[in-house]
Amino acid sequence: MLELRGLSKRFGGVQAARDVSFTVPAGRISSLIGPNGAGKTTLFALITGFHRPDAGSVVFDGAPIDGLPPEAIARRGMVRTFQIVQPFAGQTVRDNIAVGAHLRIRSRRAALAKAEEVAAAVGLDDRLDMDAAALTVAGRKRLEVARALATEPKLILFDEVLAGLNPSEIRDVLPLIRAIRDRGVTIFLIEHVMQAVMSLSEHTWVLNQGELIAEGAPQEVVRDPHVIEAYLGKGMAARVGGREQAHA
């Protein structure tokens, strides 16, 4: 579905992505994890055309999309959401979602109808006429999901849709993400909330300082010493491992 080939990007002295290659399988939920500043959001921006990579190539749905602007990539069926939610403030929830729906639908009436349908699917149908800026954080996250979903994508990139939500809100959103996958949409997500990564994704990649350091099933990846050190610091793998052995 999505294939990254040797993506690299440097901002001044910071290597935000270094020779990153992997393939996101179709029809599944996959994820990308890594400590703060690892370059996850940058990687999303590179994939969706917001930044140009210095080297490497992205293949989506069988065709290279290098150099295409974000709107052209969205038209091909890959949309992203933003970690810092970006509602069209001052517009209603319905109008916000309709912007996404208009990607495939010219008629205003049909786009508004589609917006209502999508709002119902993500649980925003009771807030259709509310100003998007008045939504709670959880509501705005749902709005991000709804707008992306309204474009009828093949692949959605979720940038920390669960960040900032409390545990009960997270419990509400997890089935929503699974339901989107069950509609046949491939999902690739960046996540900090490990509970979400563990329960949602079947495969995960770990990014640290712009480099892939591990991949595999999330349950295995979190036991990888490289990953523990990336998150907690040098030497921590041994201490954590030692404690586990002591337990055993």
Binding site: T48, E71, V79, P87, D95, H102, R108, D126, A148, T151
Partner: protein
């Protein structure tokens, strides 16, 4: 569908003016209000709905005005054809300015400054080339008659500006009810989010500035035919750019009726100042400047926003709000 009904009724009522008003003074006021509303709506399409604040709408206005005047004087073109030429040339200038700015991602104050620079460059050019009459200006020879777009009575001019304003306001209504408008407002509110959802921001902004330029150019054509005299300062000077943005800012940016409210308010203020302090040069610009500061500070949503706020205090609105709150808590 309701704004469309209000729009139709409003323009039908304004259309009664030439039948109801005998005095040329008052009919002239209505004409000038419609003219200002047209200028303001032209700016509103790009600035209000699109969020691209231009300080140089005189570039489009002046192009329309000079087009009809120069084509008439130099080539003997009928001003009715000049009307089409003026609108299209102004739209072309709009597209050119848009390409030069949006292509390079200029936003906010950078965009505003570049538009101002374009208007100033055109003012200096029109001051230096022969066919605009340079600094002396250009006089359209008097030839009264509907065929030469110089009506004997004010009613003729009234119907022209009424039609132009109606076209601009209908366009604004369409923007509020179409895919193009939804995308334009999305770009205004958050360009990155809009692009992520597949909105071609460059194309949408280009269309907006071209439309905006077209209607601004129509206002220019009308001005030239109504006053039959132009010079570089009138056509491309900052006064028109300021009036273009002041009208929707006073009336309410990004609303369909804002420019009409703003034009009426501005017209009233201008007449009052004339009554009180006479025709002191520059006084109107000083008053406009003060108004702009007051509006931006205290009423950023304009008169239309004030109207919505008053409507929001009514019992019906209170019931609706309560119902919404209940739905949210349920």
């Amino acid at each position: 569908m309701r704004p469309l009904v209000v729009l139709a009724v409003t323009f039908a009522l304004i259309g009664l003016a030439p039948f109801a008003i005998a005095s040329d003074y008052w009919l002239n006021l209505v004409i000038m209000t419609l003219y200002a509303a047209l200028l303001g709506q032209a700016w509103n399409i790009l600035g209000g709905y699109g969020g691209q604040f231009s300080f140089g709408h005189a570039a489009f206005f002046g192009t329309g005005a000079y087009a009809v005047a120069v084509l008439q004087v130099e080539l003997g073109l009928n001003p009715w054809l000049g009307l089409a030429a003026g609108g299209l040339l102004a739209a072309g200038v709009g597209a050119f300015v848009g390409f030069c700015t949006f292509r390079y991602g200029l936003r906010g104050s950078y965009f505003a400054l570049v538009t101002l620079a374009f208007a100033e460059v055109l003012r200096i050019l029109s001051n230096s080339v022969w066919f605009t009459g340079a600094g002396v200006g250009i006089l359209i020879p008097l030839e009264r008659g509907a065929a030469s777009f110089q009506f004997v009575d004010k009613a003729g001019f009234f119907w022209v500006i009424w039609g132009m304003a109606l076209a601009a306001f209908a366009t604004a209504w369409w923007i509020g009810h179409s895919r193009f408008g939804a995308q334009l407002m999305a770009v205004r509110d958050n360009e990155d989010a809009a692009r992520a959802l597949g909105v071609d921001a460059f194309r949408v902004k280009m269309a907006a500035i071209t439309l905006s330029g077209f209607f601004s150019g129509l206002a220019g054509v009308f001005y030239a035919q109504y006053f039959l005299y132009l010079d570089p300062y009138i056509a491309y000077g900052p006064a028109i750019s300021v009036e273009s943005l002041l009208v929707p800012i006073i009336g309410g940016m990004g609303t369909i009726f804002g420019p009409l409210l703003g034009a009426a308010a501005l017209q009233a203020v201008a007449e009052l100042t004339k009554e009180v302090v006479g025709e002191a040069p520059g006084i109107s610009l000083a008053v406009y400047g003060t108004l702009l500061v007051v509006m931006v500070l205290f009423m950023p949503r304009g008169l239309a926003g004030l109207g919505a706020r008053i409507a929001g205090l009514g019992p019906r609105a209170r019931r609706r709000r309560a119902a919404r709150l209940e739905a949210r808590n349920a």
